[in-house]
Assembly symmetry: C2
Homo-oligomer: 710 residues x 2
């Protein structure tokens, strides 16, 4: 087997990132030797598809990592055997009388025990999928060089739905995708099932992701036609053994477009019948279909308000259709209309009054911040504000606002920042994490969604380091209290090497990368300064967008006197959407964390910051710091040369060069612009922008990746 | 080295088609042993980039095929050495006094000689690129298991320009592309040079392709801006060592769109100055830039006729701009306007009168047939009709009209059929091949262009067998007199295996595949029966296209009495665009080859065919035969299971299943439709269509790959 692989390999295949973190390259001999004692034989069933793929993964992983494949056996006959299964599937495991309470249906335990007189590692779940998750965890321990001789691990997911949202169109385009085209080959489905679908499922299962929404929230009705449902069903068949369910983004007006009805009014009996019939049709093809994701009455999408109904009316009609089959509806709260009202307030204003009006199988899917996936936002005030409703968080893994494919920005700290934010709705410790894991308000239907950064690029995510953002999303969806640093280290070891001389500096570089991006793009609470439509590069001056709330000037409000969006009680009063103990400091310019200063306050240019310097000075200093940080990242990476394969080393190096160029551009363009408003001289010691403001304003871009206007 | 590769390999990389025909997998031990005696050491310089890549390719190829890498040496010290270079680069070679006359700049000789008392194989060119071509030929001999102990090969390309035309848009879309998105990552160029560009160059150089037009003939002016020229220059840098030049499709109105001029009139001095300046700018960045490809006054593209000028005026203005730098202009003759005139006649009518009016560095690029890349067309009457003008042939490698990615259709026989067609313009033997290789009318500027079937799909061409169409194009461009069967066998051995039990049946299957497609799509001279716009599937009834000459009914002209397009003297008289000895038989229904019958004649349904059966019978018989042939292909492939890797075996099998389904659809839909016109009963013994005509007419398709309406 390995021989065949060896011979069939060619340099063209050397390290192109395709393997992601499931790299399974041989460990150092002495390290492998240690593990081999605990991987002498494999006792695992193959009675179900999930058992079969679990067995395949362990053989592949251990065979690769230890350069020695454990022998398969029906029973334990050697020291160092690995026993995998469930109490019901394996008499040996049943006999161990292990306490599998609290593992639920997807959790696992891994323990060093003695079976038939032999020291054995057991990997146990209450279901095959739980055991599969345990197998991936065991492989992760080996891959990252953890001791495995005295194991006693219990783990189970904190969230029920851990879902990737693909913003993929049926024509192959991916909105905000920077990793090539859609990996779904809709045209050849269902007849051809690309082996890549299986590797996609392996990668997701390895980090506990258990759902995928296969099409864009800006959905066409076409995917609900029987022709496309056949294709979705083929994907579901591939994903099922890995414990992954498929979901569909549903177009609210589908009853009109493909149902031939005159209306999509959610309270119209015909419409309700249509959705029920459609759900029945889907579940006949896909018995474990997950449910619908819906973007309604947002950015031009149809919705219940077109018929004078509420979001609850709309969500409930779809919820009733899938409820008999155990399906759910993930209803997005990302709504705003062109009013004079602060856009950041609208989702709360629309949804808060509806708390308690949704069916039990509806989750409200809310972005981490009140605006739109900016490099830094405060947490959305909806978290904690709707105790009677399951709140699901939507994070953006694809870097729409964080440098596309070529900026190295590890999103772990961004995700961790919002999850650890304290809503104070039930007093101290009412973190966003506890809102979405249901513990705060006693919900069992919980979830987290990530907008995927996956495409046909060989490395899946457009860059090697973007793979870490897919990885950290999955790990945090499994357990929102994990540390983003620990996850980064795990990922680096699995993806590159266990060499400490590489791991430490690279993890440090990753951990600092998000703050660097905030600094060179939107420091001190600034937001939405990017180019129009395509969101590429800086354009704080831009007024080309039709809608005021799509224009940077709407958000930074810079004028002769100062800069920032007054969201205090003297302004839009967005602060009072938060619990009082949170609203109070946000309302007070002195108590507001400076990293959110200009989000909540309009502040004079000469405002004194805690450093004693003026706001203007700090603004320039932060922009400059961001560029310097990227220069340091490049220097760090230069020192990593030789620790990993040249292919990935060189691509990362090339991308960091692009990042430095663009960070400089962001810094210079923003300083040039804000200086033209403030009229202030550049603080001493800072280099002036490399070009004139006119130059930066003159830059226009076509064919920007991920921008839907193809 | 091999070890590293072996270890870095993972099953995910097993046989995904990426390596194309440069597979270099180990030969059978006994076979390898024989070759090892003739590959003991490698004597080759590395003073130039081309010498370096030649050395790399030989080490990689021989190392892979023989599982033993020849040692590098500065001089011959062993029996079985391989000596590579040019008389000027290598004193050893100069000393051999070989006759390199007739090798030109790109040809090579490979000969078994004695050097310093050792039997040696020399691979020699007059230039480094010639030696590179020789090295690839040598590898091909080893890969296909030919004897190499007494070699005496001379070879040189018959055509000067051997070019791939990429119909790629700058947004990543590929018009009529069925292999994913464009392989050009314009967004990251010039900063990031995808290693795939190098593998693209290796594949092309290995079959002698020496040029690539990087953008669609439906061109935007944007690629001529300095921002994009920098990107094109980066590609040129990657391709240069492989002897491949880049070309650009130029938009005729670019002087207006990016030049700020009020006109693009080719006789306007300002316009001429603009093109000269643009050419100078390009050659400063790309000293070996090949030149421009132009689609003008065709299908809505701008052109000289917009200003009352001729195609010659337009071509000459661009030609004068690139002439000082040694560039050429490839001007397409694919033109037709919505007139009542037979579309098949228009290119000839427009261009024939211009013979002799073009600059010396202009080639007219003409499609193989008079209409548009149909499964079968007669050769274009322009071949042989313009003796004073270099005629370049344009072939379509991507299967726009031949089943997209999933039909197995080897185009070699189609290409060979047109190349061996006799124009009779200078008497017998005035083949199309002799027109385009310049020998018939004494031209030295010659060429062949192929519309590429290349995309981001891992296997490059959308299917493994589509790679053969890229391969056969390159080999025929190098030598238009090669046999398509011999090329197919070469390709099968390199791409799959030398196992005779596989080679013979698979080559037979390939050779019959094009006639099968003709039979189930457009037998007996029928053409242009496909779906509107997207060109998917049968739609002989379709009248949805705006223009009459875009509608199938315009071409088949079926009515109660008969079917076919009368292009004889009683009809459109297209026949008289051919030389009299060709026109005469085409004008006579009895002498016209039946495979072109309905191209030239409108024939009664009960017309007696040579078989003695009626036309209606033969039509149904051919459609049925096409489906039966595909069934046989599937059966043949079933018997190939086990001879090759499961990955490629299974994909081919899955695609053949799709092909059978679609062949049946073509057959049934066309028979149902023509029967509704002829009103005749189905001949006895033939199965009726599986569905009603109404059913077939009701089928509509969205998101069809390769269709520009993204």
């Amino acid at each position: 087997m390995m021989l065949v692989i060896a011979l069939s390999a060619s340099p063209a295949h050397a390290e192109d990132g395709y393997d992601l973190w499931l790299r399974y390259r041989p460990l150092r001999t002495e390290q492998a030797a240690v593990f081999q004692h605990h991987a002498s034989q494999l006792v695992i069933g193959s009675a179900t598809p999930t058992q079969t793929v679990t067995r395949q993964e362990l053989l592949r992983g251990l065979g690769g990592l230890l350069s020695q494949t454990p022998t398969l056996s029906d029973t334990v006959t050697r020291d160092g055997a690995i026993l995998v299964g469930t109490p019901t599937s394996s008499p040996l495991i049943q006999h161990l009388q292990l306490d599998t309470q609290g593992l639920g249906n997807e959790g696992y335990l891994i323990r060093s025990v003695v079976v038939e007189g032999h020291p054995v590692t057991v990997i146990v779940g209450n279901s095959d999928v739980g055991a599969l998750h345990g197998a991936f965890q065991f492989l992760r321990l080996v891959q990252t060089g953890q001791p495995i001789d005295h194991l006693d691990l219990h783990d189970a997911p904190r969230l029920k739905l851990r879902v990737l949202d693909h913003w993929d169109y049926l024509n192959g385009q991916v909105e905000r995708g920077y990793a090539g085209a859609s990996i779904w080959d809709w045209w050849k489905l269902p007849d051809w099932r690309d082996p890549r679908y299986t590797d996609y499922a392996r990668a997701n299962a390895s980090i506990g992701i258990n759902g995928t929404v296969v099409n864009n929230v800006n959905a066409g009705a076409e995917i609900l036609t029987s022709r496309y449902l056949q294709k979705v069903a083929a994907l579901a068949d591939v994903f099922r053994p890995y414990g992954i369910r498929v979901y569909i983004s549903a177009r609210f007006s589908a009853p009109i477009e493909i149902g031939g009805l005159k209306t999509a009014d959610p309270l119209d009996p015909q419409v309700q019948r249509w959705w029920r019939a459609k759900a029945d049709e889907i579940y006949k093809l896909i018995p474990d279909f997950g449910g619908f994701l819906v973007k309604a009455n947002s950015e031009g999408q149809p919705g219940p308000q077109d018929y004078g109904r509420t979001h609850a009316d709309g969500a409930n009609t779809l919820a009733d259709a899938v409820a008999p089959h155990g399906g759910v509806v993930m209803w997005r709260t990302f709504v705003y209309s062109p009013t004079n009202e602060d856009r950041a307030k609208q989702a709360y204003d629309e949804f808060k009054p509806l708390d308690g009006h949704f069916r039990a199988n509806v989750l409200l899917q809310t972005k981490n911040g009140p605006v739109d996936f900016q490099p830094r936002e405060p947490f959305s005030p909806l978290f904690g504000a709707m105790p009677k409703t399951p709140m699901m968080m939507e994070l953006e893994i694809t870097k729409e606002y964080l440098g596309f494919a070529t900026h190295l920005v590890y999103l772990g700290p961004l995700f961790e920042e919002v999850l650890s934010s304290d809503t104070m709705t039930h007093g101290k410790g009412s973190t966003v994490a506890r809102v979405i894991d249901g513990s705060l308000d006693g919900h069992t239907l919980t979830g987290m969604a990530g907008v995927a950064n996956i495409g046909t690029d060989r490395n899946w995510s457009g860059s090697d380091f973007n793979q870490a953002n897919w990885y950290v999303f999955g790990r945090l969806a499994w357990n929102p209290t994990l540390s983003s640093r620990a996850i980064a280290e795990e990922w680096v070891r699995m993806t590159f090497t266990n060499n400490e001389a590489f791991v430490k500096p690279v993890v440090d570089m990753m951990m600092g990368s998000r703050e660097a991006a905030v600094d060179y793009m939107t420091p001190l609470g600034l937001h939405h300064l990017m180019g129009p439509g395509h969101h590429y590069g800086p354009a704080p001056w831009d007024a080309s967008e039709a809608r005021a709330d799509w224009r940077p000037v709407y958000y930074h409000r810079a004028d002769r006197d100062g800069i920032g969006f007054d969201r205090t009680r003297t302004g839009s009063d967005a602060v009072d959407q938060y619990a009082p103990p949170v609203a109070a400091p946000f309302n007070d310019v002195k108590q507001t964390p400076e990293q959110l200063l200009l989000w909540f306050h309009h502040v004079p240019w000469n405002y004194r910051m805690r450093s004693g310097q003026t706001l203007w000075y700090e603004l320039v200093a932060h922009y400059t710091q961001g560029v310097d940080d990227v220069k340091k990242m490049r220097e760090t990476w230069r020192q990593m040369d030789g620790y990993i394969d040249p292919e990935r080393y060189q691509q990362v190096a090339a991308f960091l060069a692009i990042q430095e160029k663009e960070a400089q551009w962001w810094r210079d363009a923003c300083i040039a612009y804000f200086q033209s408003i403030s009229g202030l001289p550049l603080p001493p010691g800072f280099a002036p922008p490399q070009h004139s403001l006119q130059y930066y304003e003159s830059l226009k871009f076509d064919n920007v990746p991920g921008y839907s206007a193809w």
